[in-house]
Subunit: 205 residues, 2 copies
DNA sequence: GTCGGACACATACTCCGAGTATGTTCCTGA
DNA sequence: TCAGGAACATACTCGGAGTATGTGTCCGAC
């Protein structure tokens, strides 16, 4: 059980949080490329030195933010999947959870719009292999094991399905709040259709 | 009928081509962000002044390259689509043409991997609205008109389908040549399944 | 109680690359 | 033949990421 942190520790944690919050706000509003670290430091009422004390680099700062977001949001999606006994039902529940998360202003914008620009495709992919991509792979495996989709198929299906998630996330991230529910429903359809089409192509007996 | 170009005109066109070729090579190999304009100029055996004489900016140079590539490759895909009377057959023919183009080393890497990083999502989308995204929209419209997929559906389906194309393009762009044919076949499956699933959900009469 | 040291920053700097301003050469047309 | 513009080269500015170093403060050891 962790001891109560010292006064000092509380303060340093506070500036770390202030930096992360400032970065989250500015990266979502102006985008990663168009916000300087001096801007982030100014909003957090510190200087650039504080940033490089707490984080390795500008992409490093982004990655911490990324991990925080995925830890909670992707965790919720995984929980939604694992709560269902049927993998198809579970996958659709996780999809709904994911689409709702992307409707919230920060998650979709940072994780699916800014992350590839900030980290580059490869690093983004490596980061996602702990979260959304891993969950997607697990779900596809479970679906294949249950005979709901054809087995095998290589890396093309997970990659392309992940591209679908990214496109849906970005679409929702730029959708005004009053249209989110309708667009979420529209986004659901292609996934349902893909699952149905794959189910129809499962080899018999 | 255009007159034969002057000696001078030929030379300037030659440096323009050398710059575009150098940029295509370097952007493909090192990526847009990691190649400086001095590098491009050096490979073309000129200086940065020549670049800013012929092009507006670094993204501007990339966009010219982008247009050249899409003009030929997307034109071929559109031709493949329009050559078929049946929209489903045509769409799959265009898909095959697209997947072959992405197997070639430059097209997929520049248009689907580097372009979002170089231009940003919005500008990339605007550029693609003349080419791949336009073709995709036209194909979906034709499919809907023929009753092969449900009508309406908003912007979600084209956006998500475009995300699928991007993911497939990127996957093929990083696939070694000897595996390209197999991966292309694997990439085809999700699109076929999506079309089948959408066809099954068309409202009856 | 105090003193050394490490932590948590601030300040001041370097460095690289995009973009700009200006110079220079050569061709072209009047 | 000469004025002007095209096609570059050269030399600069400027912003932002990253680094090196300074400074105050707190904490534990003696």
């Amino acid at each position: 059980m962790p001891q109560v942190k010292s006064r000092r520790g509380e303060y340093t944690e506070a500036t770390r949080r202030a930096l992360l919050d400032a970065a989250a706000t500015l990266f979502t509003e102006r985008g990663f490329a168009r916000t300087s670290l001096d801007d982030v430091a100014a909003v957090a009422r510190v200087t650039k030195g504080a940033i490089y004390h707490h984080f390795a680099s500008k992409p490093g700062l982004f990655e911490v933010l990324f991990d925080e977001l995925e830890l909670t949001e992707n965790g919720a999606a995984r929980a939604a999947f694992e709560a269902e006994a049927d993998p198809t039902v579970g996958a659709l529940a996780a999809l709904d959870q994911f689409l709702r998360a992307c409707s919230e202003p920060v998650y979709g914008a940072l994780v699916f719009r800014e992350a590839p620009l900030a980290l580059g495709w490869d690093a983004w992919r490596r980061c996602e292999e702990k979260y959304s991509y891993a969950l997607l792979s697990d779900m596809l495996e479970a679906l294949a094991a249950a005979g709901r989709i054809p087995p095998g198929g290589g890396e093309a299906l997970p990659s392309i399905a992940f591209g679908m998630l990214g496109a849906a996330g970005q679409l929702l991230a730029r959708t005004p709040a009053e249209d989110c529910e309708r667009v979420r429903a529209e986004c659901r359809a292609p996934f349902v259709a893909l699952l149905a089409g794959l189910a129809a192509s499962v080899p018999q007996d």
